[in-house]
Every structure is written in structure tokens, then in C-alpha cells.
């Protein structure tokens, strides 16, 4: 197990290096850089601009710049945001917790809905419950989050006025009120993301349970005289969740991508909205850092999924 973990972490290094190289090159090839707007500013003489470019090494070859970035990165220096005028790591550390909170809660919500609904529907295939669950699941993943998000804002924030529609990272309240405000403003983004994911997870859970429910060991369990509930809990659920774990991990990149849109709609000051702002401002170091954090998170979630997989299925040995 420890050997496996070490080996997986070692394998993660070259893959992250590769990802960072590609990201860096693509960003370097893209037109525009942080000093682009200086060119249109008549108050900045061209010499100053050239001096600034030279100071930050903007005219060096891509590989040299990449290696410089890598060396700085290795020492914990993430670069400087030209637009926000603070260090990139401070900026990102401000934003990451919010994103993880919103995405994490939405995934928990998605699984809390998908697992019981999927299992219940699969145990009674083609029943009324199953039909309704299927229909709702189709509706759920056909509706894009930017549409449902706006709909919720219209309904709960504008018509009913129950929930705030701008997410604030710094809430002035203290104590329980502070928590309550946080939860209140998170309800809508979490619901939108969670329900969207729940729709597709429900379908997967349902088909996984359908597959497991007709296997021999389920008949064995029933032949022992176990009640249907016990058979489902002890013999079906764990086996059916094994493929679902892989799926959730593979969905992570899509979830982060989807979160960028949702964060933008609800003005959640997360890492996704930071990315959008940075792109609009041509703030290359921030774009680079955010996309790299995304890749690290995806690699990390895949590793967690593989470890979970081994915990759920004793046949898998970590070698």
C-alpha cells in the first residue's frame, strides 16, 4: 500500500511536469501579454515598456521562460499578478477554499441524491418510481447550469427575495450568524451544480445496481434467508459503487470546468472566476497558476479514487 502510494506520487511528477509544459507553451504562443495594454497607453514611453519586458524576461525563448518559471515554482514562488498587484500564491490561497467548499458540497449533495435514488430505481426496474427518476434525470442533465442558475436567481432572489445572489467571501457577521450566512449564499450554486451531477450519477448507479443484482452471489445471499434490505445493503451496494467511484473521479475535470460557469453566474469568488478575470486582463502568471492548480486537483482526485477503489474491492492489490 505504502509502496503503491509512493509509486503513484512519483508517477504524478512527470505527468504534472508534462501538463505544465503544455500549458506554459500554449499560453506563451497565445497573443497578448500583461504589457499589451501599455502599448496603447500614450503615457508610457516605448523605452519603459521595453525595459519592463526585459526586466521580466518576456522576450526570452519559451523554454528559457518555462525553466525559469519551473525553478521559481519549485521554490514556492508562484509569480506576481500584474493585474491585482499581489503575489499569485496569496491570490490563489484566498480563492481555493471557496471553490473546494462549493464543489465539495455539490458533489456530496449529488451522491446523497444519486445513490439512494439509483439503487431504489434499479431494484424496481420499470416501476413508476423508476420511470419518474429516469425522466427527471434526463431533464436534469439536459438543462445547462447557466440556465438553471439564472432560473433559481430569478425565482429565489428576485421574486421571493429569500437568498442572496451575490456570493461574498468576507461576511461581516460573527459566530453562528457567520456560518448561517455562508450556508445561505452557498445554497443556490451548490444546488445547481449538485442536481446537474446527481442526474447523470443516478443513471450510472442505476445501471451498476442492475448489473450486480442479477449476479450469483446476490442469489446466494437471498438463499440464506436475508431480507431484501439486508441483501441490498450488504451485498449489492458496495459492489455497485465500485464502478461509480471511477466515474466520479473521471468526472472531476468536467466538474471543475462546469464550476467556472456556475461561479461566474453566482459571482462566487472562487478560483474559477479568478481564471476568467485573469484571462480578460491577460494576467499570464495567474492563468498559468490557476490552470496548474486545476490539473493538480484532477491528478489528486484520480489518486484518491484509485485508493478508494482498493478499499472497496479487496481483489485489487496495490502493487
Amino acid at each position: 500500500m505504502a509502496t503503491y502510494l509512493i509509486r503513484r506520487l512519483l508517477i504524478a511528477i512527470p505527468s504534472l511536469l508534462g501538463i505544465s509544459l503544455i500549458l506554459f507553451t500554449v499560453l506563451a504562443l497565445a497573443p497578448g501579454d500583461p504589457f499589451g495594454e501599455l502599448a496603447t497607453n500614450p503615457n508610457v514611453p516605448p523605452e519603459v515598456r521595453a525595459a519592463l519586458r526585459a526586466k521580466f524576461g518576456m522576450d526570452d525563448p519559451v523554454m528559457v521562460r518555462y525553466l525559469r518559471w519551473l525553478a521559481a515554482m519549485a521554490q514556492g514562488d508562484w509569480g506576481f499578478s500584474f493585474a491585482s498587484r499581489i503575489d499569485v500564491d496569496t491570490l490563489i490561497l484566498q480563492r481555493v477554499p471557496t471553490t473546494l467548499f462549493v464543489i465539495g458540497s455539490s458533489q456530496v449533495l449529488a451522491l446523497l441524491i444519486a445513490v439512494p435514488v439509483g439503487i431504489y430505481a434499479a431494484l424496481r426496474p420499470y416501476s413508476v418510481f423508476d420511470q419518474i427518476a429516469n425522466t427527471l434525470a434526463f431533464v436534469g442533465f439536459s438543462l445547462p447550469t447557466f440556465f438553471t442558475g439564472l432560473l433559481l436567481i430569478l425565482l429565489f432572489s428576485i421574486h421571493l427575495g429569500w437568498l442572496p445572489f451575490v456570493y461574498q467571501a468576507d461576511i461581516a457577521a460573527t459566530g453562528w450568524r457567520w456560518y448561517w450566512e455562508h450556508v445561505r449564499q452557498a445554497i443556490m450554486p451548490v444546488t445547481v451544480l449538485g442536481l446537474f451531477q446527481a442526474a447523470s450519477y443516478t443513471r450510472y448507479v442505476r445501471s451498476a445496481v442492475l448489473d450486480v443484482a442479477r449476479l450469483d452471489y446476490v442469489t446466494t445471499a437471498r438463499a440464506k434467508g436475508l431480507s431484501d434490505g439486508a441483501v441490498t445493503r450488504r451485498h449489492i451496494t458496495r459492489n455497485a459503487l465500485i464502478p461509480v467511484v471511477t466515474l466520479v473521479a473521471l468526472q472531476m475535470p468536467a466538474v471543475f470546468g462546469g464550476a467556472i460557469v456556475t461561479e461566474q453566474i453566482f459571482r462566487v469568488p472562487g478560483i474559477g472566476s479568478l481564471l476568467i478575470t485573469a484571462m480578460l486582463a491577460n494576467d499570464t502568471p495567474v492563468i498559468m497558476a490557476v490552470t496548474f492548480v486545476f490539473s493538480c486537483l484532477v491528478v489528486a482526485f484520480n489518486l484518491i479514487a484509485d485508493l478508494l477503489y482498493g478499499w472497496l474491492d479487496p481483489r485489487i492489490s496495490f502493487r
Partner: protein, 620 residues
């Protein structure tokens, strides 16, 4: 038994019928089946696939799908009709009064729960034992089914056990609450013969100890003869004949029973015949065999052998550790040598994991062997480049075990048969169509079937299609890897007869890979016995079966169930041995093997000193 006074039955099944809902219509699967099972009695339910025997068992347990099946009639257990019990009451009967074990030990245990938990589950449920008491009882049960070091194994997961051991765990689980009746649904079908005889002995011994009744479902008449007091023969969902096992075997009245019995391959039935013999044709109306002719000698003794294999070795590397370095090797095929002549059948026999299939694949270079030479018509296959190898593969074709998996379900059978012709550019489109028609006729199917898809055919017909596909390129050698093992007895007989007939007319050489000794005795000219990747004994069929020399050959032959209830009490000497593994440490080189010639062409491996001597008792 005939002399026994009949007591009140434990279980009485009256007029049991089961129907399944298929596309909104009720399709009967079991029709009006009635039988009784007395105390301590073993009743066999025998029939071919689709005869409704498993559905009968599931109906007794009320385990058929609730919404899509309908069970009528009565199943009386101790005065209660099980079919009328409320669900909660029925659950108390399952696992407590009636327990069940299934065919596939590999899939009938839950892979993510420890075996200790799975056995204790029933004890906690029905006996209300505490966790620790249930655990102690579980250890006792595992010892009862003769699992070595039971105490240290209760926290192991099912994948750590071999097939035979898993079936023991299943039996322990079934015995947990001392049921009055054990239903065993083909419990030994998926096991090797030596393991099968161990499990049969175990069931017999436990039945004695616990005083329970057994309903034993099987398709194997040999097993029936071995274990059952009474037998119910099922055909097309009906019980066509019921009686004491002796009577069924000696004085069967129903034509189907007679047909079933005459189609059963019997070990030792070939002693008077020098050459392979087709199964007798059976008169459908009486069920009795028709007189048959011997087939001519097909072997081309004078010519150079079609296939000469010398020191063929195939090993697989097992890797592990931080950098995935090799840790050990599976010595799947180890210095195997044999010749095969035109028109001859050489059978490769042995139990699972002995390397017989790998040998077949290595000969065709479907798996790349490590070393050795394979001469096909005098040309070394091992030295060929990719393109030449593909060219030569026309001469050797393969027929696989599972006729359901070896045909592409989305390709018509005509296209499947014509494909090898097209790939090898042997025929134009219209010529290929003609040849396909001819091939279908040849294997006993009609040419107009060419436009149908595989799912429209039965297992036996599909195997015929596979044979036609193999014949399309006019091969000289056919590797038949367990080609008839998955077929029902009567179908098996037909397919074997077809293979023998094709051998006579086309001078085919067969490398016949099989674990079924009775079939091998029928079809082969020569036999090679494989054990742990090596040929331990090879020789003419009559010599191997009549005068087996190697201890493993003897053990293999002794384990085959004999379809004759009168010989049941010739007790098998069953050891509790597991099949050995051919995994060796890196750098292991097996010692040079010496062979002794018993009679012309009959060679037996001499026991040699060293660690690899497979733990077999040396022949006295």
C-alpha cells in the same frame, strides 16, 4: 434404495409449474413436476440445459424473479406449503430448513466480504448468535468441510481461495444452520475431475454426519450414478421418468432417458476398439443405439508428421514492486515435445492450469513461445516473419470452447465463414458464397442459413458453424481447445461424430485439448497427459487408458465418475490435495526430465530429484 422402507418425505413437490413472462406472454418452463425426497435421501434431478431443472430448484426456494415469474402447484415441507407462506415466513425457511449451493463457486460468493462474514451472516440471522459465538461456529464449520488452517482463513476474501475451496466455503455456508434439505445446483460442474470427486465425497460424508436430505441437480450421468438414491429425469420442463437410480440405469423405460444414457461417454467402453469410434446413432422413438460401423484407419503412418513439436517452452513473467520488476515466472509450457500425423488425433489432457491450452496457442504462435521448435510440414513456424506466419496459419485453424463467444454476434454466419476466404484472398465474392454453402452442407447445416445471425442458433449448431469457419481455408491441422466441453451430452456426441467424419474425409490432424477423459478415450489415437506445464505421459490411447504408469495419470483416471450405480462402492481414494501452481521463482530451471519407454510409443516421465517434483506420491 429399493430395500429401504419409505418414510414420510421431507419435501414433497406436487404438480409444480413455473412460467416466465417473456414479452408480455407467459412461457411455461417447468410443467407439472412432482417428486418426493425422503429423510437422508439423495435425489438427483438430471437433464440437459433448458430442461427446467435449475428453475425447479429456484421455484422450491421461491427465488425466481418476483414480477416476471409465476409458480403454481405445491411444495410441502413438514406439512407447510412453501408456495403459500408469507414472504417473512419463507425467509425463515431459506438458509435454515433448506439451504442451497450453486454451480459457479467463482461467482456465488460476494467478492467484497470475507468468507467468515458470509458464513456467520446466516448464523446470526437464523440462530441469533452473537458475533463472537458465530465466529467460533464458523471455524467449526470450515473445519467440517476440511478447509486447512480454518481459523486463520476466516478473515480472507473469496479471491484468495481456489474453485474447489470456494465450493467448500459454499457448503459450509449452506450447512451453517443444519438444514433438513440441501439443494445442490450443479455444484461440481465447474470443477476439475479430481476436485469434483473430493467435493462429491465431502457431500456424501456430510450427509451421513448431519442426516440431511440432498436434492442434487446435474447433467452428468456419472455423477448421478455416484451419488443419487433416486433419480428424476427432466426433459423440456417435464419429469419424464422417476425411479431408483439402479432402475433408471438398467431398466429405463422412457426413450429420452435411454437416449441420454446411450449418449453418455463411458470410460473404459473403448477397450475392444483400436481406433476412434463415433457415438452410436440413436433411434429417437426407442432411445436405443443403432448398430454402427468402425471407421477406417485415417492415420498416415508412413509420411512425415504434419506437426513436430520439440522442447516447446512458454513462460509468463509476473511483475511487482515499486518499479514493476519481474518477481517470478509462470512455467505454463515446459519442454513439451510431440508429433502429430496426418489424419491423427492427439489428445492433450490435464486439469485447469496444466498448460494444455497454452500449448495449443503456442503451437499456432498465438502466444509467443520462449524457445523450442514447431515444424509444420517440416517448416519451422518459430523462424517465420509476421507475413509468412499469417500465410502459414491457413494450414492450422482453431476451434474454441465457448461457441457463444467465438462468433461475432453482429456478423451473419455466412459472412463469418467467408471471412477467412476473403482475408486470405482465396476466393472471389461469388466463389466464396458457393464455398460457404458447401461448407454449411458439410457440417450438417443448410446453405440458406448463411444469412442468419449467431443468436438464432443453438450451442451445437454454433459449434458446427465454428468448424465450418475453420475448414474454409482447407487446413491440415485443427487445434480443438475444449471444443465440446460446453455442449450437452447428446449434442456433444453429434459434434464429435462430425469431427470424426471430417477427419476421415479430409485427412485432418486434430490436436484435441480436453479435460474430459471419457470423450478423449472415444476420439483420440494418442494421448498426452499434461501436469504443471510438462507432458508426464504420452502414448497410444489404449496404453494410456489400459496401462497408466504415471501417478498423476492414475489419479486423473480414478477421479472420473463412472456412470454405473453398481460400481459406486468402489471407493475412490481421494486426497485433499489442491492443484499445484506452476509459478516459479526467477531463474528457476527445471531439471532435465528422463522418460522411460513402457511399450512402443508409450513414454512416461521418470520421477526426478529436486524441488520441482510436483508433490505427487511416487508410483510403487
Amino acid at each position: 434404495m429399493t430395500g429401504k422402507v419409505r418414510m414420510d418425505p421431507i419435501l414433497s413437490v406436487q404438480n409444480l409449474s413455473t412460467a416466465f413472462k417473456v414479452e408480455r406472454a407467459w412461457r411455461p418452463v417447468v410443467r407439472g413436476v412432482s417428486f418426493d425426497i425422503g429423510p437422508k435421501e439423495t435425489v438427483a434431478l438430471v437433464g440437459e440445459s433448458g430442461s427446467g431443472k435449475s428453475v425447479t430448484a429456484l421455484s422450491i426456494m421461491r427465488l425466481t424473479p418476483r414480477d416476471s415469474s409465476r409458480v403454481t402447484g405445491s411444495v410441502a415441507l413438514g406439512g407447510r406449503d412453501l408456495l403459500k407462506l408469507p414472504d417473512a415466513e419463507m425467509r425463515k425457511v431459506r438458509g435454515d430448513d433448506i439451504a442451497m449451493i450453486f454451480q459457479e463457486p467463482m461467482t456465488s460468493l460476494n467478492p467484497v466480504l470475507t468468507i467468515g462474514f458470509q458464513i456467520a451472516e446466516a448464523l446470526i440471522l437464523h440462530r441469533g448468535l452473537s458475533r463472537s459465538a458465530a465466529e467460533a461456529e464458523t471455524v467449526r464449520l470450515l473445519e467440517k468441510v476440511r478447509i486447512p488452517a480454518a481459523k486463520s482463513r476466516i478473515h480472507d476474501y473469496p479471491h484468495r481461495f481456489s474453485g474447489g475451496m470456494r465450493q467448500r466455503v459454499m457448503i459450509a455456508m449452506a450447512l451453517a444452520c443444519r438444514p433438513k434439505l440441501l439443494i445442490a445446483d450443479e455444484p461440481t460442474t465447474a470443477l476439475d475431475v479430481t476436485i469434483q470427486s473430493q467435493i462429491l465425497e465431502l457431500i456424501k460424508a456430510l450427509q451421513e454426519e448431519e442426516g440431511m436430505s440432498v436434492l442434487f441437480i446435474t447433467h452428468d450421468m456419472g455423477v448421478v450414478a455416484e451419488i443419487a438414491d433416486r433419480t428424476v429425469v427432466m426433459y423440456g420442463g417435464e419429469a419424464v421418468e422417476t425411479g431408483a437410480t439402479d432402475d433408471i440405469f438398467k431398466r429405463a423405460t422412457h426413450p429420452y432417458t435411454r437416449m441420454l444414457l446411450s449418449a453418455v461417454p463411458r470410460l473404459g467402453s473403448m477397450t475392444e476398439h483400436a481406433r476412434p469410434l463415433p457415438f452410436p446413432e440413436i433411434d429417437r422413438s426407442t432411445g436405443l443405439p443403432l448398430p454402427q460401423d468402425e471407421i477406417p484407419d485415417t492415420v498416415a503412418h508412413a509420411e512425415r508428421p504434419v506437426l513436430q513439436v520439440k522442447d516447446l517452452t512458454t513462460r509468463f513473467t509476473i511483475t511487482g514492486g515499486l518499479l514493476g520488476r519481474p518477481r517470478g515466472r509462470v512455467h505454463a509450457v515446459e519442454k513439451v515435445s510431440f508429433d502429430l500425423r496426418q489424419g491423427e488425433t492427439l489428445a492433450l489432457v490435464g486439469e485447469s492450469g496444466c498448460g494444455k491450452s497454452t500449448t495449443g496457442r503456442s503451437v499456432m504462435r498465438l502466444i509467443e513461445p520462449q524457445s523450442g521448435s514447431v515444424l509444420l510440414d517440416g517448416e519451422d513456424i518459430m523462424a517465420l516473419g509476421e507475413r509468412d506466419l499469417r500465410e502459414r496459419r491457413k494450414l492450422m485453424q482453431m476451434i474454441f470452447q465457448d461457441p457463444f463467444a467465438s462468433l461475432d454476434p453482429r456478423m451473419t454466419i455466412g459472412a463469418a465463414i467467408a471471412e477467412p476466404l476473403a482475408i486470405n484472398k482465396l476466393a472471389s465474392r461469388s466463389a466464396a458464397r458457393e464455398q460457404t454453402a458447401e461448407l454449411l452442407r458439410r457440417v450438417g447445416l443448410s446453405p440458406d442459413m448463411a444469412s442468419r445471425f449467431p443468436h438464432e442458433f443453438s450451442g451445437g449448431q454454433r459449434q458446427r458453424i465454428c468448424i465450418a469457419r475453420a475448414l474454409a481455408v482447407r487446413p491440415r491441422l485443427i487445434v480443438a481447445d475444449e471444443s465440446v466441453s460446453a455442449l450437452d451430452v447428446s449434442v456433444k456426441a453429434q459434434v464429435i461424430n462430425l469431427m470424426l467424419e471430417l477427419q476421415a474425409s479430409l485427412q485432418l490432424a486434430y490436436l484435441f485439448i480436453s479435460h474430459d477423459m471419457a470423450v478423449v478415450e472415444r476420439v483420440s489415437h494418442r494421448v498426452a497427459v499434461m501436469y504443471l506445464g510438462e507432458i508426464v505421459e504420452i502414448g497410444p490411447r489404449a496404453a494410456i487408458f489400459g496401462n497408466p504408469q504415471h501417478p498423476y495419470t492414475r489419479r486423473l483416471l480414478a477421479a472420473v465418475p463412472i456412470p454405473d450405480p453398481a460400481r459406486r462402492h468402489e471407493k475412490h481414494r481421494v486426497t485433499n490435495e489442491e492443484l499445484k501452481s506452476p509459478i516459479r521463482p526467477l531463474g528457476f530451471e527445471p531439471p532435465d526430465r528422463l522418460y522411460r519407454e513402457v511399450s512402443p510409443g508409450h513414454m512416461v516421465q521418470l520421477p526426478s530429484e529436486g524441488p520441482s517434483e510436483a508433490g505427487l506420491p511416487v508410483a510403487a
